[in-house]
């Protein structure tokens, strides 16, 4: 199932709605890369709250997405990794090194504001 991507302020939010197959993850990568160019976004939030497992392929794809988006000038933050999912990732020694993570959407927005320093310009 394709992940819906919404524009919010200077950011785009990809809100995962169901379990993702490998092709779904690759589609998300392509969609986000295209969308941040179209919207000239400086930040991306990927909400994975509903994911019941993040295995090696998902980890690799999330890393690839974040690195590609950074090369295109946008920061990525992954939000909503569930406790059991985090535990399993640690057991597998899977890391999201160099990628922002935050508890939830609200924290993700705060993270991006900090990283992109746009909060100052918005007068917040």
């Amino acid at each position: 199932m394709r992940v819906p991507i919404l524009k919010q302020r200077d950011y785009v939010i990809a809100s995962v709605q169901s379990v993702l197959s490998d092709p779904d993850l690759l589609q998300l990568r392509d969609d986000l890369t295209e969308r941040i160019g179209r919207y000239r976004s400086r930040g991306v939030i990927i909400d994975v709250t509903v994911l019941d497992v993040i295995d090696s392929f998902a980890t690799r794809t999330l890393r690839t997405i974040a690195h590609m988006l950074r090369l295109r000038g946008a920061e990525t933050v992954i939000v909503g990794i569930q406790p059991e999912v985090a535990f399993t990732m640690v057991q597998l020694s899977l890391t999201l090194e160099g990628i922002g993570t935050a508890l939830d959407l609200e924290e993700g927005l705060a993270y991006l504001d900090e990283r992109t320093k746009r909060n100052l310009r918005r007068g917040k």
Partner: protein
């Protein structure tokens, strides 16, 4: 009573099905919390291994009893090319393809028991178990 389930793996899309069936059986057997996720992740890794390297195979999920112990058994079987160097394939970080090289060693870490048999040209069978207590 929980029974055996078989999931044919013919593409990476089937990995999702295997994962979901495994999750259901684990919950039905009484696994909770992180254990359910560990089992699901292990199934994900071995079934993707089939889809990527052997193209076709199957995942067999069944309740496992050994004396008073109860648990879940996952068999991942394919008739693919087999693995030439098994110790190397079981090394964390070694990948013959484009992956992270986490699949097989990762699945071994997540489960309580793990056994792999492979014959060149004849396929690979992974048998892994998780016990309830």
């Amino acid at each position: 009573m929980a029974s055996e389930t078989r999931v044919a793996i013919a593409s990476v899309e089937d990995v999702v099905t295997a994962r979901q069936k495994g999750r259901s059986l684990a919950q039905e057997l009484g696994f909770e919390g992180a254990d359910v996720t560990l089992i699901t992740a292990a199934i994900s890794e071995v079934s993707r291994n089939i889809a990527e390297h052997a193209k076709r195979g199957e995942i067999i999920l069944r309740p496992e009893n050994h004396g008073a112990r109860r648990g879940l058994c996952v068999v991942a079987r394919d008739d693919g090319p087999g693995i030439a160097n098994l110790p190397q394939a079981m090394q964390y970080g070694y990948s013959s393809g484009s992956g992270l090289g986490v699949g097989l060693p990762g699945a071994k870490w997540l489960m309580d028991e793990f056994d792999i048999e492979s014959k060149l040209g004849a396929g690979t069978t992974v048998t892994m178990k998780k016990w309830l207590d």
